[in-house]
Symmetry: C2
Subunit: 111 residues, 2 copies
């Protein structure tokens, strides 16, 4: 699948705004999980495969390609790593961890 570019939504997004292109890119399986994993440092293909338990290599490869073409990750001597702007994106993802705790509590309450 083609890579969504800001202003040129591929998958049919809301209005073609850059933020929707982001949602388009991140709204794919494993995309955010991969970024999350790479935040701890560069990782090899195999390494990512094991930390993303059940991802198949073909999808991992495809997602890595997406993220690389989007400029969020790059292939270094140490393996795949976040780029500067990818790291910035991770900083936005970071607060999700705390929120998810609240969310979990909220759901537990209901059950």
């Amino acid at each position: 699948m083609a890579i969504p570019r800001p202003g040129k939504p591929v998958r049919g997004s809301l209005s073609g705004t850059p933020v929707m292109a982001v949602f388009d890119l991140l709204g794919r399986r494993w995309a955010m999980g991969i970024i999350w994993n790479l935040s701890r440092g560069a990782a090899s293909f195999r390494n990512l495969q094991t930390s993303c338990e059940s991802i198949s290599p073909s999808v991992l490869n495809s997602r890595l390609k997406d993220l690389r073409e989007a400029g969020l990750i790059e292939l270094t001597d140490d393996g795949y790593a976040l780029t500067a702007i990818g790291e910035e994106l991770f900083q936005l993802l970071k607060p999700f961890k705390e929120w998810s705790g609240k969310w979990a509590d909220h759901i537990d309450q209901k059950n």
Copy 2:
């Protein structure tokens, strides 16, 4: 598809942590876009359908069900609306807009 619950990943996520359950839920088409749209206030089914240009009603319905079961949105007299915790999640999504601008510039530079 079953709803991912914190601690009980459905689709096979990294490690079953709550944050991965979030990524599992949001890593579906339109999920973040719907939340983004609802941040401007409650919206009807039709309303969402038009603001999410090319979403099909069946997928929209499915996503709304996902988000409702996850407790992020609810059906009010005014239509679908963010819950309190859904609104909190939107606050985390908000900074993506600014970042996406940077990202767009970054990509333009490369081309």
